[in-house]
Symmetry: C2
Subunit: 145 residues, 2 copies
Amino acid sequence: MEYKASSETIFYQIEKAIKQYRVMAQGNLNKLEYKVTINQILLMLQIDRNPEISQVELAELLFKDVASVTRMIELLVKRNFLLREEDKKDRRKKALKTTDKGKRVLELAIPIIKKNREIAQNDITEEEKEILFKLLGKIILNTSK
Amino acid sequence: MEYKASSETIFYQIEKAIKQYRVMAQGNLNKLEYKVTINQILLMLQIDRNPEISQVELAELLFKDVASVTRMIELLVKRNFLLREEDKKDRRKKALKTTDKGKRVLELAIPIIKKNREIAQNDITEEEKEILFKLLGKIILNTSK
DNA sequence: CAAATATAATTGATATATCAATTATATTTA
DNA sequence: TAAATATAATTGATATATCAATTATATTTG
């Protein structure tokens, strides 16, 4: 069966780009005194900005399963980065809050994440970013539902 | 601390595109009578085309850890999709082969994967694909090493 | 050649991904 | 309002991701 080599497809290229980006980004984050992952930071960031957010919404924002979010939060609570309590208004939900320790690690991590993005976008013009965004948007549209 | 919303970055867009693509692709593959994942198919495909390939090379090609590859192969051997024997020339290596059952599922899966790619690339011109490829190439370059 | 170093694969530990089932609470409908 | 349905979160099972350590074999170096 004739079949285009994976490595020539845009999907392979996307996978490669995102994989390398993750490795680079995590590598830089590892220089922190706290052992945290990029995804943990992104999770805490959402909670810190919007403590009203539900775990279902967090899962959607981070492209994760709600089960994964539950377990990620569990770990972060254990390590005292987050607080989790019952939501007074809707008792199916949990009220999430970043602790002082959580806020501290966010303060340290945010500049690193910004830097990572800058590194990865080096010599890509604003116009090119827009094009890239739009083309990816087409894929998103094509693959939705 | 001022901080660009994740959802506006190209990295978020890349993550979203690849995530949706995976979900769509896996959904279509699930229509097969065999319960296999896209990654299992891509792994078997590499082995089928090049039985000389090592697990280290497989890991690189699929952007995975060698430990993951070991375990993926283990499962595929158990399910009789692959054969794994000692390599005669280099006894540190394993000789991998697709079984008839493995070849059968590949035959069925390949057209689906081709179709998935077509769906995702709908209304993206060849020129646009090239641009996308090149821009992602820049990110790959920026994040390498 | 023997010792040191490198390579291929496996294994262990822990976290995350995925899917299905379950529990608790809210909301809608008959 | 009681019953049916929907929603939020958790839990269980299994696979994969990641990092470190280990085993076996090859290759290089003194």
